[in-house]
Symmetry: C2
């Protein structure tokens, strides 16, 4: 006998012993404890599982304990294990501290052999039942424990049905089943095994199989993906068998205490009379709704309703309950917190809060951030059949239906008129934005989760499936093919951006659900959170949307998109091509008027809340047409014409501005340093807009953000520039206005010298997109298609670092930046405005660094608000 | 009277009071102290200078102290300041703790006015001398103190010469000089000043002028460039005038105690009889060599020789001495450590070491690393006249002479045959390397100090002038023009890469000097240094050169250049284009044989020393021809021909491999992760070569370096890969061999997770070229031409961070890497192999981090060895 206690009877455990007894075992013990009708049984602990993997023949060492435990069950049931009189049959089930589909599930009817089956036939008075149980047991045990191919059993079963001239298994007569059992044993023998007749040997092999199942490749992979610790281990549950298939006073069923689909507070379940658990799942007979149990077995139903309420009150969460009725007696076989849709999760949480069953913190913690996404985008009806053509990357969640179009201009035009369009491109570029904007969704054959299409789509809240590499697009023919299926322009296509499904045809969409419950939940989340949630928004429309979703400020307003409009781009191009400062200023003066109106609208939408405006960031050549295009345009022109001369000048400037590595080039505040007149124009526009609104009584809080700062010198120069212009403008308008000047932390050097930057920077905003690129030395555009996908597959990192913040590297630099910045300027406002600002794990990290806010795309604001609360509570870390 | 002591008589100071008294004053006081004949005087301290800038009218506050000090000088000299009997005249000179040409230098003869000049005439018995001194004083004082335009005085002086009918100033008779003095005073009056007649007022204004000169723009700029602290301040030296121009028993001269040009140990100086100091400098009369003083004034000469020896022994360094003889009496007016050429510096240091005057550490500290560069490259004769056409950037030191060639192929061909060629290009690319290699030097009109041409030239030890922007190159015509000068192909051109001079014509070159003294000095340096110096070398020839220069290992052997040879590139290209692993392996097997021979040669050359081989680093597309070239080649081919098909495949692959930002792309160990067969081939080649040599009794120490590692996963995978192949190969050859596997630290993330990397990495080598690019977010190729030059000019950083290591950012990450690496693996070998490895300041930084070695290009090894010693002594920090 071992000195450590490896075996617990149900009477010895409770729900809080989940780590030691596994989830299933702890709940069984808990139910036993509160007096519910649970069949007697015991649990071999997760510690035993560890020991099993350490010691040779560990099970031999605890065998006497197992025997003793079986003995106690025999006493409670009055049955005897292996006895040919009144045999005790048991189920053996695995059960880890968290639910883990990778492991062995269940063996039922263990203890049957040629002797005990006869006793069972006698005691039940039902020979067919006994032999059916026996053949099921042989089949299950041989499959799960011995690894014999299931197909062989299924084929033999088919023959048995044919021989009996029946279509359903449960109609096979006892005599036929007896033959079947013999043949089953032969199948096992042919596979090189002897089917164990000794129930004790059966039990020992089953326990061994459960422990073994902890380390199958499938289980290991599942744990890795779901971050389940390797050292949890699984427990083994050994439970007395009860039978729902002994007659019409028997039955079995499953029941949720509230609707798992809507959250409605009423029992939601189904059952079968005279059946075993697996029959409910198999779907051969149609189960009946749980409410009808009130008519068929009113006593049992009443008892069950009481138990359901009891369990819900006990666990303070909606329960998923398995039960069996054996000869009029109700047994509860399992209870657990029920899985539910996002909508149900929100409703159950808020109902229970209103019922006083749980507090606000608990309610908030009942909804997962990933679920919230479901609530914000149209979805496909989960019950509808999907005809999936190909699977790409789930790049931007939600579902979209529309006609296939291959050209961004066409998508823009037709989409603008209200047609539902799906834009299909090999990949997208900034030139395609108008098409993306007007489309329902986008499909690309190249590019990853953070490709241009993916990023823009997420920003716009449009569904996107990217990197569907087997999709071969023929732009000229306006078709695409996958294998031998060809889809033409104007055919209907359905995309599910939440899982990457591409479906030919038009499926039904379900509306997103953002109801009062959800609003209230997020308001509660805000009260719990330490971090504020701001949004990245470049237009008044974005700003309004962000505010409607609950954003408490704009953390990133990019100014470059403002120059991309059809009426502005030519002016911008003239500015870029200008060869003198004077010429540049002429164009900048024109742009200033346009910029002012942009800022005016955004400030107005965000009245009373801070708006962080980033000055011009991208390299200037991004605003020029591509050189091949220009060269082509030149071909048809008289070389001496003014137009040709102008194009020549543009080509020359484009060549001059060309860069090997634009990501690391002449951009960000480097522009402001070399061409201060550009930034001066922008700051003038900001303060003109802000002052005019202030005079109208609108409270404006402009924060000016300098991009790509790497040195103290740059920070000081840019701060001086802004302060100088601001001073002039405030005097000119006779207005007083609070504003701040700060910097992005998006270069490793900025983090390293954050103490120096904070001498002049009044706030920091971590630009983790660029910071991830420079810290890893990855060009996002290049890496995705070249090696990043394979890196994620290989396990180089757990998550794509562009999706989930890399804590060791990028996070380490953010930690340094925060520490150094606060050293110089205690309490300096620090936020994050990279795409990570909408990622729950990354938000938890920002929470741990005591940041002031996270800023994300408007559509992710609800996810972020919930995540911030969960992070503050330590639910996500 | 002030409570702080602001004035020191010479008798109160000493050489170690340099910070308080300035260099000049401290040395005058020291000479006084050891009894040398110094004219009496006093020093107003540098602290007074600070106070001057803080207080209003500070000089008034110390004026009684100045009067008292003058009184003490009067007592010592028996003369009286401002007296018309026996007037005391003084010189007033600035003197900071370090020599600073930006400040006011000297006012002589202060104290003269219409009365005292008569007394001087009488006491000297020389009226011409007296009035000549007076007019010089007015001119000097008016220029330096009052800011009157010198030209006006020079024109009036010319008239005086004409009036007297003489050509030289010293022949103008006294009467004419008297008129001149009156007119000079008028010039001052016309400029709005009254020339002060009161000697006390003269003195006060002169002191004020010295203090003022500390903050002239020129002085501030000089301090900034030379890193002289702003808070040093200047002292004021007030010294009794002595006269070398009172007759033939008078004279004046300057003398070095050893040759400043060769270092030879004998007096090296010149003097003039009957002259003042400025006459020696003016060059109107030809001075006589110092030795001849032995004949003209034997007593004085003997005394001077003794003093020279005394001063040299006292200061233990070669001295630069100013002296004057007044009526047979020798006065020493100044002594300081003499400036010298690199060759002289080495010889003086080693001679003094051998003479027992100084120890080895002092000898080593007497040579500056920048000087050493002079010794390693051919130079232009410093005495020869230069006809400078244009000045570019001094991109790679040394001088080169040759015929202009505009094409790299032609340069390679003609240079290969022994012709002296100067390659002239707008800029160079990797395709031009063979031309650079065969040329004497290279001139580019674009690109900065770290442009491709500059980096490669420094690596090759070739002179290079880059970024000569006014050079307009016409490649078609094979000419270049600067303004209206046109230089054709085959004309001679001379480049001075040490200062950027481009000279039309053929100048004489002087051989580099690497003699026994220098060798001994560097050996002494090695004994002092804590850091070893290794070299970056890719070929056996490089390795031999590095070893000859004293390298103790190869810190970086790049393997990519090995694939660029004409016979290898096609194989490499086939490998890159291969679409399956099998096809790749066919080509890799061919490359392996070639690689093996490369490594064999390098290992042989470095017998007994470590050779660090970096596995393939650049993106694969670098090995493919450019797409436009391929497209062009296609035009003339039958599209169905095998050749056309092959080119099509190459184009497809090139497109596939194309990257937006190749610097941050699919390169480094990312290649090894995705195509492990490439790295496996390289490791097989390394171990085949190493094992074969080991069997021959040659000691080989191969260290394998993995580039661009950013994650622990990569490091482990690559370490496993190397160990696996090594194990196979060692077994196959039956050889035992020590080797290490390590990583570059060239990504910010590598530094942040160095503790994780060190679990598998056995050494670190900081690749500071790439680390600087990623830390700052600068693409070196792009930044130089776009904004980096302007950033350096603006003062964004003190030095271009690609030339001198950025300590705050890049250095901060290196510090983190070293700390974290050592935490996991105490004593882990750490070095640097970026270009900074040859930069003295950067070497000092590596020394401070207790690195094991720095690795630089072979030609910089001597500079680095000296720098390492100086860093160990704290001479450079």
């Amino acid at each position: 006998m071992s000195s450590t206690k490896y075996i617990y009877d149900f009477s010895e455990g409770s729900a809080d012993m989940r780590l030691l007894l596994g989830g299933k075992g702890a709940n069984l013990a808990q139910m036993w404890k509160i007096g519910l009708p649970v069949p007697p049984g015991f649990i071999i602990t997760t510690e035993a599982c560890h020991q099993y993997w350490k010691e040779n023949d560990f099970i031999a060492g605890i065998w006497s304990d197992v025997e003793a435990a079986i003995g106690r069950v025999e006493k409670l049931t009055g049955k005897n294990f292996g006895s040919s009189e009144n045999p005790l049959l048991v189920s053996v089930r695995s059960g880890a501290p968290v639910s883990m589909p990778g492991m062995m599930d269940t063996i039922l009817n263990l203890g049957l052999n040629d002797d005990t089956v006869k006793a069972l036939a006698k005691s039940s008075g039902n020979e067919r039942f006994a032999y059916d149980s026996y053949r099921r047991f042989i089949q299950m045990f041989s499959d799960v424990v011995l690894g014999v191919d299931l197909d062989k059993f299924e084929k033999r079963l088919e023959q048995a049905r044919d021989a009996a001239g029946v279509k359903e298994d449960y109609k096979i007569p006892a005599e036929e089943l007896k033959k079947l059992v013999e043949d089953y044993k032969q199948i096992v023998a042919d596979a090189g095994h002897t089917f164990p007749t000794d129930p004790w040997k059966q039990l020992r092999l089953a326990i061994d199989a459960v422990f073994r199942s902890w380390n199958t490749p499938r289980a290991i992979t599942y744990r890795k993906i779901n971050n389940i610790p390797e050292d949890y281990g699984t427990a083994v549950n050994v439970v007395t068998m009860v039978f729902g298939n002994l007659g019409d006073d028997c039955g079995t069923g499953v029941c949720f205490t509230r609707s798992p689909s809507t959250g409605e507070n009423k029992l939601f379940g189904e059952y079968l009379i005279n059946a075993q658990g697996e029959d409910v799942v198999a779907g051969i007979r149609t189960p009946m709704p749980i409410a009808s149990l009130g008519e068929t077995m009113p006593e049992v139903y009443k008892q069950f309703c009481d138990i359901a309420k009891l369990l819900e009150n006990h666990y303070r969460d909606a329960q998923d309950i398995e039960f069996t009725v054996e000869k009029g007696k109700l047994y509860i076989l399992q209870t657990r917190n029920g899985k539910r849709t996002a909508a149900a999760a929100v409703r159950i949480a808020m109902d229970m809060l209103h019922e006083g069953l749980i507090d606000a913190e608990t309610a908030v913690s009942r909804v997962a951030p990933e679920q919230v996404e479901q609530l914000l985008h149209p979805q496909l009806d989960p019950k509808a059949k999907r005809n999936v053509l190909v699977k790409g990357l789930p790049a931007s969640p939600g579902a979209a239906v529309g006609k296939v179009v291959f050209d961004a201009d066409e998508a823009a035009e037709r989409g603008g008129k209200g047609e539902k369009i799906i834009l299909v491109r090999p990949e997208t570029t900034p030139d395609d934005i108008h098409g993306l904007f007007a489309a329902q969704g986008v499909l690309t054959s190249h590019g990853g989760m953070t490709s241009h299409a993916a990023v823009v789509a997420r920003g716009l809240g449009k569904p996107c499936v990217s990197g569907a590499e087997t999709v071969k697009i023929d732009l000229a023919a306006e078709t695409f093919t996958v294998g031998d299926v060809t889809v033409k322009k104007d055919e209907y296509l359905t995309l599910d951006g939440s899982n990457g499904d591409v479906i030919v045809g038009k499926m039904e969409l379900i509306d997103p659900q953002f109801d009062d419950n959800f609003r209230e939940l997020l308001d509660d989340a805000d009260k719990i959170a330490k971090l504020q949630v701001w949004a990245n928004a470049d237009t008044p429309e974005d700003a309004r949307r962000a505010r409607a979703f609950g954003a408490k400020g704009i953390g990133l307003c990019r100014t470059e998109h403002m120059f991309m409009d059809a009426d502005r781009l030519p002016v911008m191009q003239e500015m870029v091509v200008a060869s003198t400062k004077e010429e540049r200023i002429v164009q900048l003066d024109k742009l200033q008027v346009m910029q002012e109106s942009d800022f005016y609208g955004i400030f107005e939408a965000m009245e009373g809340l801070p708006v962080t405006i980033r000055l011009l960031d991208p390299p200037l050549h991004e605003f020029l047409p591509k050189i091949p295009e220009l060269t082509k345009a030149l071909e048809t022109l008289d070389p001496n014409s003014a137009e040709a001369q102008k194009i020549q000048a543009t080509i020359a400037r484009a060549r001059e501005l060309h860069e090997q590595n634009p990501m690391l080039g002449f951009r960000g505040c480097r522009l402001g340093m070399i061409y201060p007149e550009i930034y001066e124009m922008q700051v003038r526009a900001i303060f003109d807009a802000a002052c005019k609104l202030t005079k109208k009584g609108v409270k404006v809080i402009p924060d000016i953000m300098i991009p790509l700062v790497g040195t103290k010198f740059e920070m000081k120069a840019m701060r001086d520039l802004v302060d100088e212009v601001a001073k002039q403008k405030l005097a000119e308008h006779g207005v007083e206005l609070e504003y701040m000047v700060g910097t992005m932390i998006e270069l490793p050097r900025a983090a390293m010298v954050a103490d120096q930057l904070a001498e002049y920077a009044q706030f920091f905003s971590c630009g983790t997109n660029d910071l991830t690129q420079t810290t890893f030395g990855y060009s996002r555009d290049d890496a995705e298609g070249k090696f990043l996908g394979q890196y994620v597959e290989m396990g180089v990192f757990e998550q794509n670092p562009f999706a989930q913040l890399d804590r060791d590297g990028v996070g380490g630099l953010m930690t340094i930046a925060a520490e150094k910045g606060r050293k110089t300027r205690p309490g300096i406002q620090i936020g994050i405005c990279g795409e990570h600002g909408g990622n729950p794990s990354s938000i938890a990290f920002c929470n741990s660094l005591n940041f002031n806010y996270v800023s994300c795309s408007p559509f992710r604001v609800p996810v972020a608000r919930l995540s911030a609360a969960l992070a503050a509570m330590g639910v996500i870390k």
